[in-house]
């Protein structure tokens, strides 16, 4: 295989790994997938090191040449559909290795895949908030208030993302907005428990999933990933607390 062609293949394979990690795949799944794909392209030795914020791969081809590529992972958007597609692509390649050209095309295809449109996500935000407010013991009135706050939260998050605000600031602002919304809505008589309204929305903000995943990473031996995830989760929880603190100072009791 030509050297330039191998580099193109490796870059495409790294793209798959990056997409999986940003979409929320577990660290050892990413490592396993990269390993299998590169071996399918005839590498005699593949060393993959992945943590939640970085991927490092060194592959040795049959000619004895070594290639290394690294990726820095910045932000994550959970996207199960992408994980599924990447997984299917890797299975396909393990059966028969595609040429570089086609591999790149497949990867681009997955990247450009359309997800649910904005209005569905907006409804999901409202729905989830309402549902969990009732789930955690709120009344239907609380649920209705939580639904409105959920819609507000979606708008706030979209706006903050457009403004490219830093994540921590985004979390503080959004939780403050939700808290303010809950206080105002109970003030005009919709819903009666500020706590229950906020809890419905909090499921969307709180790092519950990353908390669970990072504990899981740690138990299964990926200690560094687990610690990174845990720190991020703790910082986000604190940011949420700060957001509510702002509202509580303004409206004590």
């Amino acid at each position: 295989m030509m050297q330039s062609e191998f580099i193109r293949i490796m870059t495409a394979v790294m793209d798959v790994g990056e997409m999986m990690l940003t979409s929320g795949a577990e660290v050892n799944r990413v490592e396993d997938t990269l390993n299998r794909m590169l071996q399918a392209y005839g590498c005699v030795r593949v060393d993959v090191f992945t943590i939640t914020s970085s991927i490092v791969v060194t592959a040795r081809t049959a000619d004895g040449e070594s290639f290394t590529q690294t990726r820095r992972i910045q932000d994550y958007v959970t996207d199960m559909y992408k994980i599924e597609r990447c997984n299917a692509l890797s299975r396909k390649i393990c059966k028969s290795a595609l040429p570089a050209e086609e591999l790149q095309k497949e990867v681009e295809g997955i990247r450009k895949e359309k997800s649910y449109p904005g209005w569905v996500r907006l409804l999901a935000y409202g729905g989830i908030s309402a549902v969990f407010s009732v789930f955690f013991g709120g009344t239907f009135g609380d649920g209705a208030a939580a639904l409105l706050c959920g819609l507000l939260l979606f708008g706030a998050i979209e706006l903050c993302n457009k403004l490219k605000l830093q994540r921590i600031i985004l979390t503080i602002l959004c939780s403050a907005i939700v808290g303010l919304g809950a206080v105002l809505l109970t003030g005009i008589g919709l819903g009666n428990s500020v706590d229950k309204i906020i809890i419905g929305n909090i499921m969307l903000l709180i790092p519950g999933i990353s908390l669970t995943t990072s504990v899981r990473d740690m138990i299964s031996g990926d200690t560094i990933s687990g610690l990174l995830g845990l720190c991020e989760a703790v910082i986000r929880a604190l940011a949420i607390a700060v957001g509510f603190a702002l509202v509580l100072w303004g409206f004590p009791g």
Partner: protein
């Protein structure tokens, strides 16, 4: 009656998050069924033994096995099915109260609540790992049996 309402809400919540996570098609139904099942198992164990962490562990193991089996039937990664199923179990409420106590300066309640959250997250995580290990052992045994028969 309250429990029925709660379970229905859990199912809807699981589907909602599945949509946010870009899960599509038939898997949304799997998310609803799994989300409901996870909450029912949790409630039953909690009722019988009165321990939240134990309830979460039992529930995670149950839906974990369900997800492993369905993932093989539907030929899809386990996470895609498992994560939405676990949504009702996520200790969002307790995490909220922890931060809320922190803000209000109620240190003692905050510590107690934090301890609870850590045990809850630990129980879920341990449940997931337990299932993964069980499945690996079973698959290896099955493989060995197969080769013995052929050989």
């Amino acid at each position: 009656m309250n429990e029925v309402l709660q379970t229905c809400m859990g199912m809807l919540g699981a589907v909602g998050f599945a949509v946010l996570f870009h899960v599509k098609g038939k898997k949304l139904i799997v998310a609803a069924v799994g989300g409901g099942l996870s909450w029912i198992v949790y409630l039953v164990v909690l009722e019988r033994y009165g321990d939240k962490a134990l309830g979460l562990l039992a529930s995670t193991v149950t839906v974990g096995l369900l997800a492993e089996i369905l993932a093989r039937v539907m030929k899809t990664p386990v996470t895609i099915l498992l994560v939405p199923m676990l949504i009702p179990l996520i200790p969002g409420s307790d995490l909220y109260y922890t931060t809320s106590y922190l803000v209000r300066g109620q240190t003692e309640e905050c510590a107690r609540s934090l301890d609870l959250v850590i045990r809850e997250a630990g129980a879920i995580a341990f449940g997931i790992i337990l299932v993964t290990c069980m499945v690996q052992v079973v698959l290896q045994l099955a493989n060995r049996l197969k080769t013995v028969k052929i050989g």
